[in-house]
Amino acid sequence: MADILQILILGLALGGVIALMGSGLSLVFGVMRIVNLAHPSLIIGGAYVTYWAFKMTGLDPIVMLPVASLIMAAIGVLLYRLMFERETKSAKYSEMTVLLTFALAMMVEGLLGGLFTNTQRVVSPEYATDAFFIGDLFIPKGQLYAGIVSLIIIGGLSLFLKYSRLGYAIRATTQNREAAELLGVNVNFICILAFAIGIGLAGAAGSLVSFVFSFFPAKHWEWIAMLMSVVVLGGMGSILGTVVAALLLSVIAAFVGTWIGATWSTLTFFLALFLILLVRPQGLFGEKPEMA
């Protein structure tokens, strides 16, 4: 019993981080219909920003998080204006953006590899290797903190989307772009904003990832299918769905990892992605199979 609880705790803490990693991806798809294959590579970008700050000044990754997030958001604005704004009129828009983001992922990977080499890195603040003990259970502090911070950020994002004027505009654009434009929403600005928030979330996730996982530039290929499975299961575009799917899959993966073997735990995500695409392409929370 204690075993099961232990696995559950580890799965949930990690699931929180994965939820944050996926939320930006989901937001960007929801508003702009861009399947951003470069999202994980930008998370790694955020992780390197954090790593670099830690190495230079010893700055705590969680303190660095807002800065990394802002830096990545600014990069997001730049990328959107350079690469995606011009494609909005393209006939094969969604397909085109998938390939463009794929190319972007390679560019980011190559750039990071050139700057930081392909060595595995990890940021190691003291709490990253420490843990709380409750009876037989242990809770690694790093994962716990990262999970909590993730859920706080996602909570803030949800409140922003639910209640603020810009949040209304973002949700309206997600649900009916034309109608939003007709009601006076500057849709192009909303797209830039949503993209910036999405990439900013990648930066924030990067700061947390930097001390939870070890990373290197090519690591993002392992994450893309993992995050896609979370986002697709959650119903592309739904933040709540993304959180639920992340927690669920992460817990399942934790059990698979413990009971069957560590190599097979990532397979959980890929197989899940495969199954969802085939059985219920609209995901758990999506209503229309827009992706299919």
Partner: protein, 242 residues
């Protein structure tokens, strides 16, 4: 001069594509219900999109109270008081009725005033108050169309343009929609609608416009348009040409 909106000889199309509208004109008088009829592909919806700023007008002018509208963005035209409801209701299906109404007043800066106006709308449309916290996508077609029309009233518009408000609705419900339009026009809102069911549309309007092949063929009082034998034959499903 009594005209509120004057569209003269405009040419417009999508992107770099061919001109859908070529020589369309339109005169809109205040307080009346105007109905645009014409076959599929005549350019009816395109005309509305051109007026509300969603399409670039290549040639010609749109004058609203003497002010040129062409070249303005949709949100600027909305602020002038022209509201457009495209086909398929244009609601936000996963927002509640109240949130949809709030989006209707997106351009209003005064939050308190907005809430007051929403209350006013809910007062007038009891069915919407009943469903105020329900997702718009879960309502019936008629209720959705009611919401779409009611939503335009939030900004107290001068002109409301409706693209096929009767689409997919049962005949009895369609009449309710026309009643709402009459109520709007009685309050001084000018209504411009595109109607596939030309007969029904004209019967409920003051002014009729026949559009075909991107050009305005005929403009006149709805009764005159209804009575014209040529129009009956070609567009009202009257006697088929031999």
């Amino acid at each position: 001069m009594t005209e509120l909106l004057q569209v003269s000889n405009i040419t417009a199309g999508y992107g770099d594509g061919p001109a859908i509208l070529d020589g369309a004109h339109l005169t809109v008088e205040p307080g009346k219900v105007h109905c645009i009829i014409g076959p599929n592909g005549a350019g009816k919806s395109t005309l509305m999109k051109a007026i509300c700023g969603m399409l670039t007008i290549r040639k010609g002018d749109v004058l609203f109270n003497g002010k040129r509208l062409n070249g303005m963005r949709p949100d600027q035209i909305l602020r002038e008081g022209i509201c457009f409801v495209p086909q398929e209701r244009a609601l936000f299906p996963k927002m509640t009725v109240r949130e949809n109404l709030r989006m209707g007043g997106f351009i209003l800066d005064d939050k308190k005033e907005l809430e007051r106006r929403i209350e006013g709308i809910l007062e007038r449309f009891p069915i919407l108050r009943e469903r105020a916290d329900q997702h718009a996508g879960t309502m019936s077609g008629g209720q959705q169309q009611t919401l779409a029309m009611a939503r335009t009233l939030i900004i107290k518009p001068t002109i409301v343009m409706l693209d096929e408000p009767s689409l997919g609705l049962a005949p009895k419900i369609v009449q309710e929609m026309f009643d709402i339009m009459k109520m709007m026009s009685a309050e001084g809102v000018t209504v411009l609608l595109v109607e596939q069911n030309a007969l029904m549309g004209l019967k409920n309007s003051d002014w009729g416009v026949v559009l075909d092949l991107g050009r305005t063929l005929f403009e006149g009082p709805a009764a005159t348009v209804l009575a014209d034998p040529r129009i009956q034959e070609l567009y009202l499903g009257g006697k088929k040409a031999a």
